[in-house]
């Protein structure tokens, strides 16, 4: 009774050793079978219900392996939603699960609404009537919440940009419709060149949003964070303390060569990439050798700098030199080794940090929680927030990608020499996808635009 296939990460984001991506709907098995390479050459479309399969998730387009996974196949009707359900168990953590989810969406699933699995379970008769009211509450509250975050995120430039793209496309399609609906009036012609330019322009702008949207990147890739300080201030012990407290969610992808190694962890659900130069997890001895020059790279890449003062030693020339390097960065100051006798000029720390620094001991763990809260709050104040927010963000990304796809097929249609009525169909759906983000209905916009811009009608 429900037609499309939905997908979502169904484990709490960034927490736990394993993440589950759940896909439900009539195409669930088909979609996953297209991105799953079984170790034993099993075709998921032919397996029995309620079986587990071992293999890899890969992107058939470029043959890239994403992760090593276990896949559970459960066929309708004995599933949670009473539909075909596939669950992909991948390595825990935000990044692999997010990438796999994106791959699933790219292959035809739709991102689930908040509470939608439960809703389907209910609609398909899985839950009993007494649970109806509760489900309604969940859906309304969750939707309200995500709407709130959607609006929150849509303040400012992203909304402006998307609205602009949408308006540009509405102007294009209005022109096409003015010509189609009023063929005998002297509406100026729209040549293929203008049309193609207009569409390409919008594609470029969508790409830009997809690419440069900083928030999007942080959500997608995590907050790049560098721990910086002169040798022997306790950077690595701080790092280890953070890693011990917060489960490391992924190690660096083997086989890729990078100078910088990242540690990925999650602080209160926010994905964090701790950047340091090579070998940070090796012995302290090597870590001590990391000098100012090699930190520069890490600093350039970082969204957030954690600068470490050493409570047990006076402030030195090295400290000032490094501070100079991070002048234009967002910095969180740490006064480390507070378990040791103080030899530092506290007034100077006050002055250098603007009075905002976290007192901490990597040994006793004192201050570690304050550090985590501070990171969390700094990110939040940036408009980057928790699960609901990430979800909405992803929905927008989903819509942008679909809009782009529609525009690409517009170009194909024009290229193959087809007429405007065909072009208008894909243009319409691109506008509809963007309308999902901006929340405006396209049709009335369009008709208004026709009559405002073109002098038509007898």
């Amino acid at each position: 009774m429900i037609e499309d296939t939905i997908a979502a990460i169904s484990t709490p984001i960034g927490e736990g050793g394993i993440s589950i991506i759940r896909i439900s709907g009539s195409d669930a098995i088909k979609i996953v079978s297209g991105i799953f390479k079984s170790k034993r050459n099993v075709d998921l479309r032919n397996v029995k219900s309620h079986t587990v399969h071992y293999g890899f998730i890969y992107d058939a387009e470029n043959d890239e392996i994403y992760d090593e996974v276990l896949v559970n196949v459960m066929k309708s009707p004995h599933t949670y939603t009473k539909e075909d359900v596939v669950e992909i168990n991948c390595h825990g953590g935000y990044i692999p699960s997010k990438r796999i989810l994106e791959l699933v969406l790219k292959n035809g699933a739709r991102l689930a609404e908040p509470g939608e699995f439960t809703k389907r379970a209910f609609l398909n008769g899985r839950l009993d009537i007494s649970q109806a009211e509760a489900v309604i509450d969940i859906i309304t509250s969750k939707t309200d919440l995500s709407n709130k975050y959607a609006l929150m995120q849509l303040n400012g430039s992203v909304k402006e940009k998307i609205t602009k793209i949408k308006n540009d496309l509405v102007a294009l399609i209005a022109h096409i419709f003015a010509l189609m609906d009023f063929p005998e009036e002297d509406v100026e012609l729209l040549n293929d060149g203008e049309l193609i330019d207009g569409i390409n322009n919008s594609i470029r702008e969508i790409d830009e949003i997809l690419k440069t949207s900083e928030k999007g990147r942080i959500v997608r890739e995590g907050l790049n964070t560098a721990i910086i300080g002169k040798p022997n201030v306790g950077k690595s012990s701080l790092l280890n303390a953070l890693l011990n407290e917060n489960r490391a969610i992924v190690t660096d992808v083997p086989g890729t060569t990078r100078d910088i190694i990242e540690e990925h962890l999650s602080i209160k659900g926010i994905p964090i990439n701790l950047i340091d130069t090579a070998g940070i997890r090796q012995t302290d001895e090597i870590v001590e050798k990391i000098g100012v020059e090699r930190s520069r790279e890490a600093i350039d890449k970082a969204d957030l700098i954690i600068f470490v003062f050493d409570n047990s030693r006076p402030i030195e020339k090295d400290d000032y030199e490094i501070l100079k390097l991070i002048e234009n960065k967002k910095v969180l100051y740490i006064l480390n080794k507070i378990d040791l006798p103080s030899a530092i000029d506290i007034d100077e720390v006050d002055k250098l940090s603007g009075g905002r620094y976290v007192r901490l001991s990597s040994v006793t763990k004192e201050g570690l929680e304050t550090l985590e809260n501070t990171v969390y709050n700094m990110v939040l104040s940036d408009g980057l927030s928790h699960d609901e927010f990430l979800l909405t963000n992803m929905r927008h990304k989903d819509a942008l990608i679909k809009a782009k796809d529609s525009l690409m097929s517009c170009l194909n249609t024009i290229e193959s020499g087809l007429t405007e009525d065909f072009v208008s169909i894909d243009l319409n759906s691109a506008i509809d996808h963007l309308g999902l983000i901006t929340g405006e209905t396209a049709n009335e916009d369009l008709i208004n635009e026709i009559f405002e811009r073109f002098c038509v009608g007898k």
Binding site: M1, A132, V135, F177, F182, D421, N428, G457
Partner: protein
């Protein structure tokens, strides 16, 4: 004194384009029908331009035809010119436009009504509709006649409390010098029907003798006329040309100099006018950069010198109209026979109607046409036909006949009206139809003839014609799929002549026709087994359905998704006050519109996807 004038199943009030279709439909479906016009000589009057069709409107006319309505047949029988529009813009928007002989159109339609069994037509103004226990009982005319009826179809067009405005002159009046209907509005107010006030207008009619056609560009009709009706194979009549000319800066100067005398800008006109039908003063004010506006001079018929000045609709004072017309090339000495005018009229808020066009609050009271806030002869006729069919369905205790947005432009039209309402006279536009690749004018018979047959309006002749066409189409498609074309000198020469690449292995004729540069008709030379008797319209279907297969499939998938929500019906007993968790705005809208399906509910502005989820769950839980 009121006297009993007769007992009928249906009374139709008004015999414009909506009323004619409504009355014919009910009578043909066996209902004893009485139909009223204020003046019997105004039956099927075209008070504005003498033309039928155009983009989207052609689709409506052909849908009416496929269902067994009259407009297309009557157009074919009385047209004086026809042009095919949008040939280069694609099959989905291709359209026909016929210039009609206004008088012949009227008389031919009137005679069709007169000959119709079960149908009595009367010259009378209906002043009251009597309702008892929420059910229509009778209608009463100004002269005191009471006609008992089970259903009543209101098709009053622009007559309700009509007011004519020409510059600073205004008076109570109907279109084209006819009387208005002033009483019925009061009846509607008494029946608690919400009214709106709309406005429309028409240009001057000028004397052919006073026009210098040498200064204008001739606009002849097509060499070969394509009939509107699926019942006609060809039309051979002498065509009369139209003429093209333009306004100029002098025209605009006259208008701007007198703009303070325009009732549009003085506040004299309060009704809402249609944006797609702007008056010339509107165009000049809103598009000051446009140095000229194009005008078509269109003949109003074969036996008249009256010419319609398309593009010059105006409610400026008569003297100003004459002055600006005479600035136009070819019209320097023009004589105006009828001045242009604006007309304000009452219409109802169409969201008070069900999808069947029956009023939600009064059983048996149907509304169709311009009185529902639309504009255009074709839009009116489409609604008239549907109201007539549904009055009959009700009479026979059958399910209402509803077309959805994926089945017909008629469905889009009625769904828009009853779901979204309208705040200006509503005109059908291609852009309103989401599934326009499927709702083409060329396939209306494939979409709707079977439905018309089930209703009972498609007679044997029409049905057999359709079945034969369909059989020919299906057989030929099958043959094309099974016909192998093998590489040969002749085949590749043909392909070369079409700018197509040669073939090196065998390919089915079907696959070859997928190439954009290969068309069905010309490819006969390489397809030796092709029958000789393939109809033109079948050839057209074959080309479209093969070439655009991918696009049509894609759109069919969208339709399937659409249908899923459309098929989730909302029962009439639903009580929105009972449902926890829908927003206040949505609740109000839902209570007033009372959508019949979840799909319809989702199209109401102010109803969010979250509200829809809640309704789905509520419905499921009460199942």
């Amino acid at each position: 004194m009121i006297y009993n004038a007769g007992v009928y199943d249906v009374a139709v009030i008004g015999l414009g384009h909506a009323g004619c279709e409504a009355a014919l439909a009910t009578a043909r479906l066996g209902l004893k029908t009485v139909a009223f016009a204020i003046n019997l000589d105004s039956i099927a009057l075209m008070p504005c331009n003498p033309a039928i069709g155009g983009p989207a409107k052609t689709n409506l006319v052909r849908e009416i035809d496929a269902l067994g309505g009259q407009m297309a047949i009557n157009t074919d029988l009385t047209l004086i010119q026809e042009r095919t529009l949008n040939t280069s813009k694609g099959p989905a928007v291709r359209a026909l436009r016929a210039q009609s002989d206004k008088k012949r159109y009227q008389f031919n339609m009137k005679y069709t009504l007169e000959k119709q069994e079960n149908l009595d037509i009367k010259q009378a103004e209906v002043v009251d509709i009597e309702v008892e226990d929420g059910q229509v009982k009778s209608v009463i005319t100004k002269t005191g006649a009471r006609y008992l009826c089970k259903s009543c179809i209101v098709t009053t067009g622009t007559y309700l409390r009509g007011r004519i405005i020409i510059g600073d002159v205004s008076y109570s009046g109907g279109p084209n010098g006819l009387f208005p209907a002033n009483e019925l509005s009061k009846c509607f107010e008494r029946l608690n029907i919400r009214l709106m006030r709309f406005k429309t207008g028409t240009p001057a009619r000028v004397d052919k003798k006073s026009i210098n056609f040498d200064a204008m560009e001739i606009q002849p009709g097509d060499d070969k006329i394509t009939p509107f009706s699926y019942m006609h194979d060809e039309i051979n009549v002498e065509q009369i040309p139209c003429w093209l000319t333009y306004t100029n800066e002098k025209t605009h100067e006259v208008i701007m100099r007198n703009i303070d005398r325009s009732p549009l800008y003085s506040g004299e006109i309060k009704g809402v006018g249609p944006r797609y039908c702007p008056s010339i003063e509107d165009k000049v004010v809103k598009f000051p950069d446009k140095l000229r506006h194009q005008l078509f001079i269109e003949p109003e018929g074969r036996d008249t010198n009256e010419m319609y000045v398309q593009g010059m609709s105006s409610s400026m004072p008569e003297d100003v109209q004459i002055e600006f017309l005479r600035t136009i090339k070819g019209l320097e000495n023009v004589k105006v026979m009828r001045p242009g005018y604006a007309i304000e009229y009452d219409c109802i808020d169409p969201t008070q109607l069900k999808q069947s066009l029956e009023l939600k609050t009064i059983s048996g009271l149907f509304f169709a046409g311009q009185v529902n806030g639309t504009s255009g002869y074709e839009e009116a006729a489409a609604q008239g036909l549907m109201a007539g069919i549904n009055a009959a369905m009700k009479y026979y205790n059958r399910e209402p006949f509803i077309l959805d947005r994926s089945e017909a432009y008629i469905g889009v039209l009625i769904d828009d009206l009853v779901t979204k309402g309208t705040n200006e006279p509503y005109r059908m536009l291609t852009s309103r139809a989401e599934y326009r690749l499927i709702l083409r004018q060329d396939n209306a018979d494939f979409r709707l003839t079977e439905k018309g047959r089930q209703i009972g309006l498609v007679d044997d002749e029409r049905y057999n014609r359709f079945l034969m066409k369909k059989a020919q189409y299906e057989k030929e498609m099958e043959r094309l799929k099974n016909t192998m074309i093998t590489p040969s000198h002749d085949v590749n020469e043909y392909l070369k002549s079409k700018g197509s690449s040669p073939i090196v292995t065998g390919i089915t004729m079907y696959d070859l026709l997928k190439r954009p540069e290969i068309d069905y008709v010309s490819s006969k030379v390489i397809d030796s087994g092709r029958p000789d008797d393939i109809r033109d319209d079948v050839a057209f279907q074959i080309d479209i359905n093969i070439k655009y297969e991918g696009y049509i499939k894609k759109q069919m998938e969208q339709v399937e998704k659409f249908k899923a929500l459309e098929n989730k019906k909302i029962p009439s007993w639903i009580n929105y006050d009972d449902i926890k968790g829908i927003s206040i705005e949505a609740r109000q809208k839902l209570k007033s519109i009372m959508p019949t399906s979840v799909g319809q509910a989702s199209r109401i502005s102010g109803v969010s996807p979250a509200d829809i989820s809640v309704i789905l769950i509520y419905l499921q839980s009460r199942r």
